[in-house]
């Protein structure tokens, strides 16, 4: 029987790559590299010109990478480059306190010596992570980049999706991924709405130099205005995430460095000796925003574009990398089976895997924060008793350590040992 399709060359538009990724921050490049391991080609579109992304100086930002994220970076061949500048987190101490009170560790104590997997996380400075990702993208033949470009339109067709850049260039691929943050234009253009609320809190973020060594211990102080996290950086330095009410944070942020430190000192305590600033100061208003769907036709969202959450436990980037690893996993299996990687069924597998996880994590960090950002005597007693109870039961404590290390649940292949 005759078949008119036989021998015919299709006049359809060629794809420029398999995946177009909007957003060149951390999750976007990580996805491009993860997809490349499955033979999928990506183009990463970033609004910032390349020079703005490769600054040499330490700007004060750092990330607490969970063990699962470290494994992922290792599987992508990046950890070797990052490790010399990383600080292992060997212990996490959680304390309920009040400003000016002596910090007494009656609270929770998580020690990675209790689990065989090693340190529960690693502190890495933003500049090293960005540089490692950029260098790896440049060296990867499956990854192409468009820097200093913004997307002004996107259009879905039967066999693919295309975006138009401000420069006038049109790119076409099978799948479009929005890794463009909380105010994701990719999500908005696809008509994906968001649910969210503010906490009335703002995070002050900076790096602190201190006299005494931190011994790889991370601290989380829960205080009525909001939590203060002290995370160990290489040398006698720590990265802090200091949450205050919006008004208070605005006032503190307006202070000159010396006065800023004066406000911090009674909160920080003196257990690390004298403190000083070791980088720039940042402010981030804290709000939770969850995309009503992580997928649309030929489109998937990762990281903050899907879920911006409270950075209380450093879970923002770790959750983003988990999206990336899960999406790469789903796409690579689809590719090996010969499926259309952007078919509704393939994308539904990603959504099913990640949306429940993230919604529950966002809810848990939200609840945790509401519970601890409170000076109610009864709540204080209740959470002190709760922390003592978790501390007293090694099995429960190890569970929390594994959870903090990100090695529980249905792990994507890239995050496995």
């Amino acid at each position: 029987m005759d078949n008119p399709a036989r021998g015919r060359i299709f006049a359809g538009m060629e794809h420029d790559c398999d995946i177009l990724i909007v957003g060149g921050g951390l999750n976007g490049p990580a996805l491009a590299l993860a997809a490349a391991t499955a033979g999928l080609k990506s183009i990463v579109i970033d609004a910032l010109p390349e020079a703005a992304r490769t600054q040499e100086d330490f700007d004060g930002r750092g990330y607490a990478l969970a063990l699962s994220s470290v494994r992922m970076l290792d599987n992508l061949g990046l950890w070797e480059r990052l490790e010399p500048n990383a600080q292992p987190m060997r212990e996490i101490k959680v304390t309920d306190g009040r400003v000016g009170d002596a910090q007494v560790f009656l609270g929770l104590h998580f020690d990675s010596a209790e689990i065989e997997e090693g340190p529960m996380g690693q502190m890495v400075e933003d500049r090293y992570l960005r540089r490692a990702l950029l260098e790896a993208m440049e060296a990867n033949p499956h990854v192409d980049q468009r820097a200093g470009e913004t997307v002004i339109a996107q259009h879905t067709g039967p066999g693919g999706i295309s975006v138009t850049l401000a420069s006038g260039e049109t790119l076409r691929a099978r799948l479009l991924v929005g890794a463009d943050g909380r105010q994701s234009g990719t999500a908005a253009r696809a008509g994906i709405r968001r649910t969210g609320w503010g906490y009335g809190q703002t995070a002050l973020v900076c790096a602190i130099a201190h006299d005494a060594p931190h011994h790889g211990v991370a601290h989380q102080f829960f205080m009525p205005p909001g939590p203060l996290a002290i995370l160990p950086l290489p040398g006698n330095r720590s990265s802090i995430v200091w949450s205050e009410t919006d008004a208070q944070a605005r006032a503190i942020n307006a202070l000159p460095d010396e006065d800023y430190l004066e406000v911090l000192r009674p909160r920080f305590g003196d257990f690390l000796g004298e403190i000083s600033l070791a980088g720039k100061r940042f402010v981030y208003p804290l709000n939770l925003t969850l995309a009503n769907s992580f997928i649309a036709e030929r489109l998937a969202l990762v990281g903050d574009a899907a879920h911006g959450m409270h950075p209380i436990a450093g879970q923002g980037l770790n959750a983003g990398l988990r999206d990336v690893a899960a999406l790469a996993d789903v796409l690579s299996h689809a590719q090996r089976r010969g499926e259309d990687i952007a078919s509704p069924l393939v994308l539904a597998r990603y959504q099913q895997w990640r949306r429940f996880d993230t919604a529950s994590l966002a809810a848990a960090t939200d609840l945790f924060n509401r519970l601890f950002s409170n000076d109610n005597a009864l709540l204080r007693l209740g959470r002190d008793l709760g922390m003592a109870a978790i501390n007293a039961v090694p099995g429960l404590r190890r569970g929390f350590i594994r959870e903090a290390a990100g090695i529980t649940g249905d792990l994507p292949e890239l995050m496995r040992d």
């Binding site: 029987m1 399709a5 299996h333 010969g338 069924l345």
Partner: protein, 250 residues
């Protein structure tokens, strides 16, 4: 049309053809099952022909026919993996649906309104015959499997899935899928036409094929997904068979 296709069966599928590619439409159960079907098919082909599934077009150079191709749910993945694909269906209405979709997917697939028997009569030869969920619908399974065997090159691979015949398969495939879940129109399957794995192995041997593997497809109602099982062949199952090099039937 030849004698092994039951005309009333064709009419039933014609009524369903337009919805092939809607993942939430009438063919939702096939779409849900497709990942495990493809896992089995791709691994068997890769194993038999020593292909690396992480390579760009691992099935390049292989000629594959899918019997009962429907809307092309299996043909398109095979074409995407680089194979030269012929999709045949006895239901005429499926062919334009499948062709249209292949064009949208920018894939070249040779879809034909014909049967395995007619194709064999044209002396067409293939490296792989994919024969999924068809054998329980034909009037004479043995005559049909002989036609499939005739389509294979020597040492070619025959992949065949069907539904077991026992009280559980009646409960799952007919009561569950057709009556309760309404996944399939009532009357899609006749339980008496279902075939046990041992019966299928016997039929394959009689048709001149050497069975080499069988696995179950198991539905997990909690995760709402299908898994391949070595042991549980109680409802849906799949088999692999090889055409012997010096087959007298070739």
């Amino acid at each position: 049309m030849t004698e092994t296709v039951d005309p009333s069966e064709i009419a039933k599928f014609e009524a369903m053809a337009a919805e092939w590619w809607d993942p939430n439409g009438k063919f939702k159960p096939l779409h849900m099952m497709n990942p495990v079907r493809l896992d089995y098919i791709t691994r068997q082909i890769a194993g038999e022909y020593d292909r690396d599934l992480s390579a760009a077009k691992p099935f390049e150079g292989l000629r594959i026919v899918d019997i009962g191709c429907g809307g092309g749910l299996l043909c398109e993945p095979m074409a995407r993996l680089g194979a030269e694909v012929v999709g045949v269906d006895a239901a005429e209405r499926n062919i334009p649906v499948a062709r249209l979709h292949a064009e949208q997917s920018e894939l070249e697939i040779d879809y034909r309104h014909t049967t395995a028997e007619a194709l064999a009569a044209e002396n067409e030869l293939f490296d792989v015959v994919i024969n999924m969920e068809v054998v329980e619908h034909v009037a004479s399974p043995l005559a049909y499997l002989k036609a499939c065997q005739a389509l294979l090159k020597p040492s070619g691979l025959h992949l065949c899935s069907t539904i077991n015949r026992n009280p559980k398969s009646f409960a799952m495939a007919i009561v569950g899928a057709e009556w309760v879940m309404r996944w399939l129109p009532k009357g899609t399957h006749e339980w008496s036409k279902f075939i046990t794995p041992d019966e299928l192995f016997d039929l394959l041997r009689q048709a001149g094929l050497e069975p080499v593997d069988r696995k179950g497809y198991v539905f997990n109602p909690v995760s709402w997904t299908w898994k391949i099982s070595d042991r549980d062949l109680s409802v849906n199952y799949v088999t692999a068979a090889i055409k012997p090099e010096a087959a007298a039937w070739a």
